[in-house]
């Protein structure tokens, strides 16, 4: 636990020493603010349904930028050597770094809480769907990050890492479209597999265990693949 905390702290410092965290936060908040205002003027509705949908798409583009550095940079600068010769288990390394990226996403989301607060001042929003929607978007972003973390373990080039994770995210995202043309048996399966198709219920204010299980499975699957890859890199060289 202490070592996960050590990696987590170090990773957070690195985020804020480099411009990455600031740029990502700024871009994300600027876009969300623009969407919020636009949607509000158009719908005149005290809800965040559409905004949260737009945020998911923004995360699709932004999270690969947050995770690409995590392992690729360590490998490029040889600091990986330091980590693998320390009494640090592979899962501690992966979790420490993953949690750091998760923390940044949490910061991004908390900053957007100002929108529902604005709504509650001038209107009477239904808080159930808003909070459930936030949970949904958070779980979605957490899944994105787990895929990004795994991709960063695959390579020592940050751009390649970002590209791999972006492709995978897009693929997962669009599996739902494929479902329409697929045979009946495949349709349900593909639809369940798609990252985006689990958001609708959250935005309606429903927290269904099926969706929770889905996101936790996605996260643990990709982190496990990452950990195993990391382990194999010791003997594959």
């Amino acid at each position: 636990m202490r070592k996960i905390a050590a990696v987590f702290t170090k990773e957070l410092i690195s985020y804020f020493v480099s411009p990455v965290a600031y740029v990502v936060l700024t871009v994300f908040l600027a876009l969300s603010g623009y969407f919020f205002v636009n949607i509000l003027f158009y719908t005149k509705e005290a809800s965040l349904r559409y905004l949260l949908g737009n945020m998911s798409v923004t995360f699709l583009f932004v999270t690969p930028l947050l995770t690409m550095r995590l392992f690729a940079e360590e490998k490029r600068t040889n600091t990986m050597e330091l980590l693998v010769t320390s009494p640090l288990r592979d899962f501690e390394m992966v979790l420490g770094k993953y949690f750091a990226s998760l923390f940044i996403v949490l910061m991004m989301l908390s900053a957007t809480l100002i929108y529902p607060i604005c709504l509650s001042i001038y209107g009477d929003p239904d808080w159930g769907p808003i909070l459930a929607g936030y949970l949904g978007v958070f779980l979605l972003a957490a899944s994105f990050l787990s895929i990004g973390t795994m991709s960063s373990i695959f390579t020592k080039n940050q751009i390649v890492a970002a590209l791999i994770s972006f492709c995978l995210l897009l693929l997962y995202w669009t599996l739902g479209w494929l479902a329409d043309q697929a045979p009946k048996a495949m349709e349900l399966f593909l639809d369940y597999l798609a990252l985006g198709s689990h958001q609708a219920d959250f935005q309606k204010g429903i927290i269904d265990t099926r969706h929770l299980v889905y996101y936790f499975t996605v996260i643990s699957f990709h982190l496990t693949v990452g950990i195993l890859t990391l382990e194999s890199q010791r003997w594959r060289e």
Partner: protein, 323 residues
Amino acid sequence: MIEVRNLTKYYGNNLAVDDINFKVEKGEIIGLLGPNGAGKTTIMRILTCALSQTTGQATVAGHDVITDSLAIRRKIGYLPENPPLYPELKVQTYLKFMARLKEVPRNCLRERIEYVIELFKLQEVRKKTIDQLSRGFRQRVGLAQALISDPEIIILDEPTVGLDPRQITDVRAAIKDLARKHTVILSTHILPEVSMTCDAVIIINNGKIVALDSINNLDARMVGQKRLRLKVRGEMPRVEHDLLDIPGVARVLPEDTDGEELNFIIEGKRNELKSELITETLINKGWGVREIFFEKATLEEIYLRLVTDEKASAPKNTRAGKN
């Protein structure tokens, strides 16, 4: 403390380490010496569990590098060839991070950090970020990191690269100090470094051990023939003939003359060549002996002979402990 048996490592089809055997006792300083690409770094990376061997076995502090790597990693401090530093971190933040990773207990964390900062004279840069540091300071931060957890075994890959002569002396002294409590393996291509800091040396070429011995023994073993340098006042052909008559002298090589002073190199079998006998004979013949001394083969000569002469490279693992 460290034992390596039949260790072999292939990178793809490239043989990097070829069936190596050696042993390091507790408290010893061992130098790994060899040209670039000889396999020094590969051996160190296997011992530090950063890499797995292809075949063979390596145990560190009684633990196997494959099956028990976590236990080993708790006991080692490692400085890779390029100091592994995070350029964006401050020196003391970096050291604190490393201390936490290396399981330094919370209550002596501060003390250990202060100790290594003191030891490697990092006080003036402790609040600077690492990317602002010169090569020498970076190397020292790397060394500080290797010692932060007071490890039993310290593995240093080229520890004095990039330091100025003054710092090199300091670092070598620090390494020598470590030997009382710690076991140290260091690699280098600087020969005097080995003779200055190490108890024993392992010379590696093309992934094979070409010599493995204590420094003094290595000296003795390589010099099967003894060489004497002699400076005599006298006349040329007669002195040479007189020398050749002395029992034990196998060869006399005249060197450049210096007025009436003659210089010779005399070669003979190890225990037959006697300097007293030569001096006595020369004086009895009426020649003036100005200088006479045994030439000691330098480590450079030994090394070059071992690394260049393949015939001499048959490994004879007659390691005779510490001297």
